[in-house]
Amino acid sequence: MSDKLDITLNINGRDYAIRVESRRTLVDAIREECGQTGTHIGCEHGVCGACTVIVAGEPVRSCLMFAEQAAGKPIRTVEGLATGDTMHPMQRAFMENHGLQCGFCTPGFLMLAVGVLEREPEISDEDLVDVLSSNLCRCTGYQNIIKAVRAAAAEMRRS
């Protein structure tokens, strides 16, 4: 396992030249080699979605992808959602609708929702609940996450 690979991860527009083992998962590389700890690890087996990031436009579970597989592709994490001090509508909607409590699953939900809405802005309310059911939250009972994402979807469609 000692053979290491030199790869470059592009996270939120910035290149990180890192050396990792081939078995290194994307989430570990984002958090440890690149120091971007906003992306969280909830289960490491692809169920909870806390580690969701956007790779080449698609929301992915970064615990189920090797870092090497994401090399050279644009990666977006929660740290890149805001533009300077201006928060993304999804971030604002989560705050306005109390879509978070402990905040641990929040980055994953934000990236999941943003990724899906960018791809499918006209997604129906029902389909949105299906999409959101791919991530787990233990605090909110999902009520206000759904409310927040619907509010942000409406705002994203307007802008």
Partner: protein, 778 residues
């Protein structure tokens, strides 16, 4: 009972202001334990066997491995109760010769990275001579069963009994006796952030800073120092952002003790992050109870006597600080719930088995006892041929104060009122018609109610009644206005998602007339916060809120005295608002920031009549009170598959004054979702050898957005005189009522089959098995 109009007379309390916690958390700037870098990473070698004797532990030559033989100077974790025939048993930090549950840590491997530590741990070979494992509570009580701990005869570690005087006579006078054999399977609180710890040694001071996912930083420090044998001054404990706890992170983790010990030995930093499998098999479990419950009713459907035998399978060890008595003894104390019954007979036992230790989880025991007694009420309603709500009307407490057969004093409650709100909101008569129509079309709809009381905000007297060697209760707040006019409240509670930085700021803001955005609540750091008990038991808003109010009242008094000097006006003519002290009826005022500066830098102007500085302390230790609610579920059961869909869920609750309605609703939402998971999905399953079969989140199933319907909330705000903020606390209620409401609804849907589903979770398999056994399936 006082009617309360939200927002009247106050400024910030009662308003749904946005949380002060959120900006960091939505931008990825939250700081969680696992985010910290470390020099050494620890991986625990855990037992793959439930019960046995360790014969050998072999590691590769030169590998960095710690085993029990290295830890001889450490004491075991050994919490004590002085009552209820409690038998203290010790839990070693690493298994010492004997393993008692699958997942028990046997050795700690450490290396320069997480991966290397994991690789190393995989190379450690442990040989265990397997012995018979006890997995089931009642089976561990069978005579001749092997003992989990030699000192606990019959595997009973705690036993509480009560039999009220004259019980037998009342029982014999019964018109009908109904019985429920209620079984709650094991659960895991499953916070989205599993546990983690990081211990860093500071060579300059010799101190260790333990950053960890705890709900009780001060107790963690006390416990770790006692076990290792060092003064508390040598350890700082920090609970940074903590990703949910729900009770699981309240109990002391042996892993934290090992980390602190190892950081001292290596004079370096060491870290451990629990993976999800470890969390599911070896953190803490809960809710594993059998309750045999019998209720004696008179001819009018009034419950006249209640009898119960409670067996809680508490696992292999007793958790610190509450002890494992928490589940069986809370069941003993609170089983009668919101019902007016004075004849009570109960035996509650905590039984040792070769399973993961049980510890508090949101609601603690009450989700189980509420499920049991609410099943009893529905069975009684069926036996009397009346609506379940009518039977409850005849039995709910409606005269206050009420003293329970266990001596608990119910100061006030709105059991009937909340139920009537629920009945009206759900339109029960209309539902019954809809249900009949659906049934003619082969669809099985059902409605279930659960009424319950949630004991909240209790201080040290209530805990002392349990005979705890460590008696939690009070909370302290240090409130300071610094020379810049900024307010800092240092609290002993340790919130982790409850929004306390916001709600406490609202309480303080109203008292001192400063906007909450200028009030910073500091918590979770033993160097910066006063000693306190942490956040658990629906207590923080009441306890820390009360202490905040007391401290803020003192600051207010001092500010008014200072303003009186500075404005040369009588104190009674001064009011604090919008960041200034105002002379009532004039345009004269002085900014609080100006007074704060004077309190430190211009003290001479007060001519020795006012002490320098602007810090006050509030400590609060109330007797406690009860919140209450009625939960209502409407479900549809697919009799071909056993699948249950929760179509509607309604909560009518009363938690006294609501400080921030948005946050309060969020607490109810989260609790209800956990309760629905409890009722339908979540189960830790052991096989008969004690091997755990549910070690991923694809096996242990927290609900997703698909399983939780839109929740409808109704509030009553009955202002309690038992807390100084008039707030009661509601953190656990959602989880307490929901399981019973859902299970009652399932049984209502299946009433034509003559089955009774009295086991949680009511999985499709269990529902299908019950339907098959009914012989009524086509």
């Amino acid at each position: 009972m006082t009617a309360h109009t939200r927002g009247s007379g106050t400024n910030w309390v009662g308003r749904s202001i946005r949380r002060l916690e959120d900006p960091a958390l939505v931008t990825g700037q939250g700081r969680f334990t696992a985010d910290l870098p470390a020099v050494h990473w620890v991986r625990f070698v855990r037992s793959s066997i439930a019960a046995g004797k360790i014969q050998s532990i072999e590691a590769p030559p030169g590998a960095n491995i710690i085993t029990a033989s290295d830890l001889r100077a450490l004491k075991p974790i050994r919490p004590v109760l002085s009552k209820f025939n409690y038998v203290p048993v010790g839990q070693p930090i690493l298994a010492d010769g004997v393993v008692r549950f699958t997942g028990e840590p046997i050795a700690a491997a450490y290396a320069a990275s997480k991966d290397q530590a994991e690789d190393l741990a995989d190379q450690v070979e442990v040989v265990i001579a397997e012995t018979t494992a006890l997995v089931d509570g009642p089976l561990a009580l069978v005579e001749g069963a092997p003992l989990v701990h030699a000192e606990a005869a019959g595997n009973v570690i705690v036993e509480g009994r009560v039999r009220t005087p004259g019980f037998d006579e009342v029982w014999r006078s019964a018109h009908k006796v109904l019985r429920v054999d209620a079984r709650s399977r094991r659960q895991n609180a499953a916070p989205m952030e599993a546990r983690a710890g990081h211990a860093a040694y500071d060579p300059a001071t010799g101190r260790v800073t333990l950053t960890c996912t705890t709900q009780m930083p001060h107790l963690t420090r006390t416990a770790v120092c006692d076990i290792i044998g060092i003064p508390e001054a040598e350890l700082r404990v920090i609970a940074p952002d903590v990703g949910g706890g729900f009770g699981q992170k309240m109990s002391l983790a042996v892993e934290y003790v090992l980390l602190v010990w190892l950081a001292r030995r290596l004079r370096s930093s060491v870290a451990w992050t629990e993976d999800r499998r470890e969390n599911l098999i070896a953190s803490f479990h809960s809710r594993d109870q059998h309750i045999e419950l019998e209720g004696a009713f008179d001819a009018g459907g009034k419950l006249i006597a209640l009898s119960a035998d409670i067996i809680a399978n508490i696992g292999a060890y007793s958790c610190f600080p509450t002890t494992c008595g928490v589940e069986p003894l809370m069941a003993l104390a609170e089983l009668p719930g919101p019902y007016d019954v004075s004849a009570y007979n109960c035996r509650a036992r905590g039984v040792l088995t070769h399973t993961c230790p049980m510890a508090p989880y949101r609601g603690v025991s009450r989700p189980v006892i509420t499920f049991a007694i609410e099943r009893l009420m529905d069975k009684a309603a069926a036996a009397f041929g009346i609506e379940p709500t009518e039977l409850r009307r005849r039995n709910l407490i409606d005269k206050f104060p009420h003293t329970s057969p266990m001596g608990l004093m119910f100061d006030d409650g709105t059991y009937k009122e909340t139920m009537e709100i629920a009945i009206k909101a759900v339109d029960l008569p209309a539902f019954r018609k809809q249900q009949q129509v659906a049934r003619t079309r082969g669809r099985y709809l059902g409605i279930g109610f659960a009424t319950f009381s949630e004991r909240t905000g209790y201080g040290s007297p209530a805990f002392a009644a349990r005979g705890m060697e460590i008696t939690p209760g009070w909370e302290t707040v240090h409130l300071t206005i610094d020379p810049s006019g900024f307010v800092e409240a240092r609290i002993g509670a340790s919130p982790h998602g409850q929004g306390l930085r916001t709600t406490l700021a609202q309480i303080i803001a109203d008292e001192i007339g400063i906007d909450p955005q200028f009030i910073k609540v500091v918590h979770g750091d033993t160097d910066r916060s006063p000693y306190g008990w942490g956040t658990f038991a629906s207590r923080s808003l009441v306890l820390s809120g009360g202490a905040s109010l007391i401290a803020a009242q003192k600051i207010r008094a001092k500010l008014i005295k200072m303003a009186s000097h500075m404005l040369e006006t009588a104190p009674e003519d001064i009011t604090l608002k919008s960041g200034s002290a105002h002379v009532i009826g004039t345009d004269r005022s002085i900014a609080i920031a100006t007074m704060a500066r004077a309190a430190y830098h211009q003290t001479h102007i007060f001519k020795g009549e006012i002490e320098p500085g602007l810090t006050e302390t509030g400590t609060y230790d109330p007797s406690g009170t009860f919140s209450n609610a009625c939960h209502t579920a409407i479900v549809e059961v697919d009799i071909d598959t056993g699948r249950v869909e929760v179509k509607k869920f309604l909560v009518a609750e009363d938690a006294g004054l609501i400080i921030n309605p948005m946050i309060a609703d969020g607490q109810v939402h989260g609790g209800v979702a956990q309760g629905i998971g409890n009722a339908l999905l979540e189960e830790i399953i052991y096989d008969e050898t004690g091997n755990i079969l549910t070690s991923t989140l694809a096996d242990f199933l927290p609900p997703t957005a698909r399983e939780i319907p839109e929740l409808e909330l109704h509030h009553l705000e009955t202002l309690t005189g038992n807390t100084i903020t008039k707030a009661k606390g509601l953190g656990e209620g959602g989880a307490i009522g929901a399981p019973a409401a859902v299970i009652n609804a399932i049984n209502d849907a299946l009433s034509s089959f003559g089955v009774s589903i009295d086991e949680m979770p009511a999985t499709p398999q269990r529902i299908r098995a019950a339907l098959r056994s009914s012989g009524k399936l086509r």
